[in-house]
């Protein structure tokens, strides 16, 4: 494989690497003397330009020949392209949100690290090889650890980063162990090859080594998507990290991790599904995930009720949402209806969820800049001070709770349908879907708690409200509009995704 053909195949990633280096170099070489605002503006502009260039490259140029795939090390297909475009969109929004940030002097490094994390995610979604998955997972994680620790004046940021890092290191060790067992079983790093070995092994009961591999892999990815019981880092990281970092961890990282999680499970462990239905419980990765998903939904939703910090609340809500998305991962197409791939609902769900949380974090960022905190009481009376912002928050919260016609509703709807249809006539995952619906109802309560503060409680601060910058309001508004539009017309994402899945043959 020559370098030129790699550069051609991975052109968007290459563009992103160049952009990251350009941001770094521009800031370190030419902008030391400038004011912070200018530096932030220029850095963000370069970053966004790079992301847009990568998006343009993917949307405008035709796909390269599907034959040039480097044995699964790097794939280019329409589905991956869509996910990558979504990741880049989330990156752009994150960069835009961080333009207002005032927690650091190292602006070039900050933007560069966001871009590097995005590069890791892009590689993560475009591979079917466990070696590449691990390396890109580490690239993403390492960038995110540093982004979490970025606010050096705040001890909480350091604490969050340390927890995130230690948990992440442990999880990476587990993942690596699991992946090496997989390599040991199959003698290959390619997911499809592994699947061949795996399905050969599971003729009469599962290979014990395979069970260990499944469990270890699930631990690693469970950490990345913050599913119970690997969620302990999430509340602290969401609360302590600088807001744009937390937003990126909550959005982009989730999209990439869930996509690759689903791929590893569906492709790599094909033939070792087992069954998660209560009547016919069979060991495999589906029941493992079923337990994790159920725990995530219950614990996430119940713990969120008790939170007084909005960021912690969002963290627990993220844990709960991880439970919902896991339903889609488990929804293996039944032999009866092989063409209903659950990847479509999954991609739709995680993209809209990413946009929604990003928006919610943008609102929190605005509030925190004005009041200095993110407690629920800091949101009191926001509707009078900033009606537009409050309305956007209303949309985000209701979408997270799953109220039609917002994107969150359709996401849940599709995911639950996929989970229901997966077991064929027997409705194997029915119990999980019922649990999920019940827990969604619970979740409405704490989302409404936030809205109650915003709309009903009187404002506590006596100061004259500082006017919001038009830029940040525009970002929040754009995100809210996206959530609304994607909710009203889910086909905008779903249709291309579904046709892409057909092309990819998943």
């Amino acid at each position: 494989m020559s370098y030129l053909s790699i550069l051609n195949l991975a052109a968007p990633e290459t563009i992103m690497v160049m952009t990251a280096l350009a941001v770094l170099a521009a800031d370190l070489l030419f902008m030391r003397e400038l004011e912070r605002g200018t530096r932030q503006l220029i850095g963000a502009m370069i970053g966004c330009a790079g992301c847009l260039a990568a998006v343009a490259w993917m949307l405008v140029l035709p796909l390269p020949e599907p034959g040039s795939l480097m044995q699964g090390l790097f794939l280019v297909d329409p589905l991956i392209r869509i996910v990558k475009v979504a990741l880049l969109a989330l990156t752009i929004f994150t960069v835009l949100i961080s333009m207002e940030a005032d927690f650091t002097q190292h602006i070039g490094e900050y933007f560069a690290l966001i871009l590097f994390a995005a590069i890791g995610m892009m590689f993560l979604v475009s591979t079917e090889d466990i070696l590449m998955i691990f390396i890109s997972l580490e690239l993403t994680s390492l960038s995110l650890y540093i982004l979490t620790a970025f606010n050096k004046r705040n001890i909480k940021s350091a604490e969050a980063a340390l927890k995130y890092f230690l948990f992440g290191g442990m999880a990476a060790a587990f993942t690596l162990f699991g992946l090496s067992l997989l390599y040991g079983i199959s003698g290959s790093t390619n997911l499809a090859e592994i699947a061949k070995a795996v399905s050969g092994k599971s003729v009469n009961g599962l290979d014990p080594l395979l069970i260990a591999a499944i469990v270890l892999t699930v631990i690693g990815f469970g950490f990345k998507v913050a599913a119970v019981p690997f969620h302990l880092w999430a509340p602290d990281a969401y609360e302590g990290a600088p807001i744009p970092s937390a937003a990126f961890i909550a959005s982009g990282s989730k999209v990439a991790s869930f996509f690759v999680f689903a791929k590893v499970m569906m492709i790599g462990f094909k033939g070792a599904e087992g069954s998660g239905s209560l009547q016919a419980w069979m060991p495999g990765w589906v029941p493992t995930l079923a337990v994790v998903a159920a725990a995530s939904m219950v614990l996430g939703n119940l713990a969120a009720i008790a939170q007084s910090s909005v960021r912690r609340l969002l963290a627990y809500s993220a844990i709960a949402h991880a439970g919902y998305v896991l339903l889609a991962v488990m929804a293996v197409p039944s032999p009866l209806a092989p063409h209903t791939s659950p990847l479509g609902p999954l991609v739709y769900y995680v993209i809209t969820y990413g946009l929604t949380t990003l928006g919610a974090f943008a609102v929190v960022s605005n509030v925190q800049q004005r009041t200095g905190g993110d407690r629920l009481s800091d949101f009191a009376g926001l509707a009078r001070r900033a009606p537009l912002l409050s309305f956007c928050m209303l949309i985000f919260m209701l979408s997270l709770a799953g109220i039609p016609p917002l994107a969150g509703f359709f996401g849940k709807f599709y995911v639950f349908t996929a989970a229901l249809s997966s077991g064929g006539k027997s409705l194997g995952l029915l119990w999980l879907v019922i649990l999920a619906v019940a827990m969604s109802a619970v979740s409405l309560y704490y989302y409404l708690l936030v809205l109650k503060q915003i709309y009903i409680m009187p404002s506590t601060d006596q100061d004259t409200p500082r006017p919001l910058s038009i830029g940040s309001q525009a970002i929040v508004f754009a995100l809210a509009a996206l959530v609304l539009i994607l909710g009203c017309a889910p086909g905008l994402i779903l249709e291309p995704v579904m046709s892409a899945i057909k092309v990819a043959g998943l």
Binding site: L113, M132, I135, L142
Partner: protein
């Protein structure tokens, strides 16, 4: 003979690794770090048994040499008096033992039950030339990504160790 050496080095690795985290004779972090060096050296022995001389040498060069010495530096620069006098709490010990026991039992059960591989592992080409060819042909993309990863790590280290100017 090979088998004997395998078990010998494996046992050494395990014993030293255990002494890294729970040394009954000393609570000093420096001692732990030195046992880590020994762990890594015995691991290199395992690599040699696999005829992966390159990996063995790199393992010693990078980990036992550079990385561990930097570890020791950091340990020395930190004031670890508190660490030396630390006592493990009963709860932590209990919980740790239970979870470790659970994991160990899972592995033991699965390993004991696991049938021997019907197809023997592919012959390992551990020599430098083969490794280099693989690294720069088939695996050039991961190799390049690792370079980005190292760049990120470097940025992070410089950034986090810098004094924040107010």
């Amino acid at each position: 003979m090979e088998n004997f050496f395998f078990y010998f080095f494996a046992a050494l690795t395990l014993i030293f690794a255990f002494l890294v985290i729970a040394n009954p004779f000393s609570n000093n972090p420096v001692t732990s770090a030195m046992f880590l060096v020994l762990t890594i050296a015995s691991l290199a022995g395992l690599f040699v048994l696999l005829h992966a001389y390159f990996l063995a040498a790199v393992q010693v060069l990078v980990y036992a040499g550079a990385v561990m010495v930097l570890f020791l530096f950091v340990i020395m620069l930190l004031d670890l008096k508190a660490e030396e006098e630390r006592h493990i709490r009963a709860f932590g010990l209990g919980a740790g033992l239970i979870s470790v026991g659970a994991i160990v039992s899972i592995f033991l059960i699965s390993l004991l039950k696991a049938p021997l591989l019907s197809n023997p592992a592919p012959i390992v080409h551990g020599d430098t030339l083969a490794l280099g060819k693989l690294l720069f042909n088939q695996y050039s993309l991961p190799f390049e990504i690792v370079s980005v990863l190292l760049l990120v790590a470097m940025i992070g280290v410089v950034l986090l160790s810098k004094k924040e100017l107010k």
